[in-house]
């Protein structure tokens, strides 16, 4: 069994395996997308390697964090677009 940790996604506590990325955690929580473009289109992690910037979320109050490059930590507060 992997080590499980708890994070908060849009105010809801979610338990995820330790060591996964924030992008993976947001998708595991059942959302189909992560980030909305300026025109409102729902976007998700396209490249998974920090290049496309389509997976940006707010982490602990800091906006525009690339979720695919950020590892979940216990207690992390994640805010993703829906």
């Amino acid at each position: 069994m992997p080590n499980l940790i708890q994070v908060t996604i849009n105010g809801q506590a979610v338990t995820v395996p330790g060591g996964i990325t924030v992008a993976a955690a947001v998708l595991l929580s059942g959302k189909s997308g992560i980030h909305r473009s300026p025109s409102g289109a729902l976007r998700g992690p396209v490249c998974g390697m920090g290049v496309c910037f389509e997976c940006r979320v707010t982490v602990n109050g800091r906006a525009h964090v690339r979720s695919c490059l950020t590892t979940c930590e216990a207690g992390m507060e994640i805010s993703a677009d829906e």
Partner: protein, 373 residues
């Protein structure tokens, strides 16, 4: 040979575009030629700050007049022009700069330009992300912000009678028009050189030098900055002739993005981003606004201001000719002063009385006509 034009304007930047619109409104048939695209030079590289400045009486008269013209124009602009009126705050770091705030306030107030002195607490409330402990500032609420390339296109398309020839470099201004690099000739009785930092290549004796600038733009952080913020030390940076300088100068865009400037360099002609300059510029910004360090920058670029020896533009006949006019040398104020430039140029071409005196901007003040006839 293309013909049938009364005027050919070299340069489709904001200045050339404004002149084209104004002259077309007077009933003239105008051709505008640009080596690149509409509004692709300094017009696209700058911040688009519409600001009243008081470095000299002549600069004040031109910027105040032009800001009023922008206010008249703005309701007709397309939304993509992103015209906003956040106002400018001139930020004073210490008591000596507060003295400058008071002087500037008195100067503006006595000449009918709204301005409000902010003490340290009022400044912190107006801009919570500035570092604590700054002395205060001067809020100039009617200063504005715009996205200039869209306005350049708007002005060129607004009036009937303007033809744009983009992607064609002018090789020479001739006695009866211009000659393009590809051999095409465009004939017109009068020619306006509005080619910005390239204007000396086409009219001998034009004392315009490129002054390189860098800008950084961030991702979207709505509300992080609320006004255009400029350190009062900017005046020292902008108005000295030293080889290079940086100043804290940030601007909120309608998108929530933040433009971070500014730098000034003489004697550099390559357009590469210089990491040392960007670093100095951002360090300066961090001194005023430490939180900038947590934001993501998404692009950085450079541009060349067309600077003159006395910090005023060249608007009027090129000395020694009777058919070539100059509308260049606007340095860092070309967006602000483009509309007034067009009015002053049109008044000279049509013989109509201008709304403000043209004398301080006539090219003859810094050019020797006989040598260049």
């Amino acid at each position: 040979m293309a013909s049938g034009f009364d005027i050919v304007i070299v340069g489709a930047g904001i200045v050339g575009a404004a002149c084209a619109a104004e002259l077309a409104r007077e009933g003239m048939r105008v051709a505008v030629v640009d080596r690149d695209i509409i509004g692709g030079g300094a017009t696209a590289a700058g911040m688009g700050h519409i600001v009243v400045m008081d470095d000299s009486e002549a600069q004040f008269a031109l910027t105040r007049y032009s800001r009023r013209l922008w206010r008249d124009l703005h309701s007709g602009l397309p939304p993509q022009a992103e015209y906003e009126t956040p106002g400018t705050i001139w930020v004073a770091a210490d008591e000596s700069e507060m003295q400058e705030v008071r002087r500037k306030h008195e100067y503006y107030a006595s000449r009918g330009v709204a301005a409000e002195i902010l003490d340290s607490k009022m400044l912190a409330e107006a801009e919570p992300n500035l570092r604590p402990g700054l002395a205060g500032g001067l809020l100039v609420p009617d200063d504005a912000v715009v996205y200039p390339p869209v306005v350049a296109r708007f002005l060129l398309e607004r009036e009937r009678g303007v033809s744009v020839i983009a992607g064609s470099a002018v090789r020479a201004i001739t006695n009866d028009g211009v000659a393009l690099e590809d051999g095409t000739r465009i004939s017109a009785a009068k020619i306006v050189n509005a080619a910005g930092d390239a204007s000396p290549n086409l009219t001998a004796g034009v004392r315009v030098a490129p002054r390189k600038g860098h800008l950084v733009i961030t991702d979207r952080y709505p509300g992080f900055v609320r006004h255009q913020l400029v350190e009062l030390g900017y005046l020292k940076s902008a108005h000295t002739h030293s080889a290079e300088s940086v100043a804290f100068n940030v601007q909120p865009r309608r998108t929530g993005q933040i433009l971070i400037g500014s730098s000034r360099q003489y004697g550099v002609t390559n357009a590469d981003v210089d990491p040392a300059i960007v670093s100095a510029m951002l360090s300066r910004a961090l001194q005023y606004m430490p939180g900038i360090g947590t934001l993501s920058a998404i692009r950085c670029w450079t541009g060349f201001r067309a600077s003159t020896p006395d910090k005023l533009p060249l608007i009027g006949p090129a000395p020694g000719t009777d058919h070539v006019y100059l509308a260049t040398g606007h340095e860092g104020l070309g967006i602000t002063t483009s509309l007034a430039t067009a009015k002053l140029l049109a008044s000279q071409i049509t013989g109509r009385e201008p709304e403000i005196a043209v004398t301080p901007y006539l090219p003859a003040r810094v050019m020797d006509g006989e040598k260049h006839a």
